[in-house]
Amino acid sequence: METGVYGAKVHTTEVSDLRCFYSWNANRSDASQEAALEFHRVVQAVFRAADMIPFRFPTLMADEVELATAIQEHAAEYHRWLARVRGCVQMEVRIHGREEPELRLGVASGAEYLRAHQHHRQKLELTADGLRARVGVRVHGWRQRDTSDSLRCFALIARDSVGDFQQQLRNGGVPADVVVRVSGPWPPTEFFEGEAREEGKR
């Protein structure tokens, strides 16, 4: 990994026992799609080799002194996060209905409308519960987040169990009108902050 965003050389520096990867982009501060993809490539390259905390792109600093100061200030927190997810990766399971949400507008009454939404939400949550049970002991942490039309589930698993996790989720058991999309492995960003909520959903 020689170059990063806009072809700039990727530098490394060590601060408070943390290795930091960065590059200089003196004349560019825009966040184009292309730059974001280059950034993602660098993140994935580092992530393949080590546990890491990706910063949001773009995170801009004036110089190395400011970078070192910022890292030092939060070093204890970063070490704590890395210890929490050591050897683990994050998988995302996105669950949504096959039908368009707008179809619920076609119901006859207000009560039906609310119950249709309630039923939809329950269906997604039951699917998530079923998937969670299926992957069971392989998961060190699990979080769920509602979005406007789907349920996003994040699983913290050991690096070497990604294939097994994907295989378990491929083994059916999802209602015909529900779509499940699995992506990852990603850096376990959902599990850095706050207390682990393995059992609590939302």
Partner: protein
């Protein structure tokens, strides 16, 4: 590295970096930009009200008459938001604004 960030580095909350999805208000599309902003906020409030209504319905604290009234109001509001969005050339997905470090507007209703 070019300019100082106002806040210390924090981790991205998504695996892929988000590109700020700015509301592009040029003289030609200022109406659409404003409509997108206003409708996004209304849609957020509508979704929060809907969740609250469902919670109250599940908790049994809403009489059937009120369930009907609230449901009808929320249904009409959703239809009207879609209608106005279409009028300004916006899809429902356009109302899910990217808020930078906070993620997307409608994706963080824990």
């Amino acid at each position: 590295m070019k300019k100082a960030s106002a806040k210390p580095p924090r981790p991205a909350n998504k695996p892929t970096p988000a590109i700020p999805d700015r509301i592009n208000c040029t003289p030609e599309n200022v109406e659409q930009g404003l409509a997108r902003l206003v409708l996004s906020l209304i849609e957020l409030i509508r979704q929060l009200l809907e969740r609250q209504a469902i919670r109250r319905m599940e908790g049994g604290s809403l009489p059937e008459e009120q369930v009907e009234q609230m449901g009808e109001a929320l249904m009409k509001l959703e239809a009207k938001i879609h209608e106005l969005a279409a009028h300004f050339g916006l899809s429902p997905a356009d109302l899910n604004l990217e808020l930078g470090p906070l993620g997307r507007l409608l994706d963080n209703q824990r």
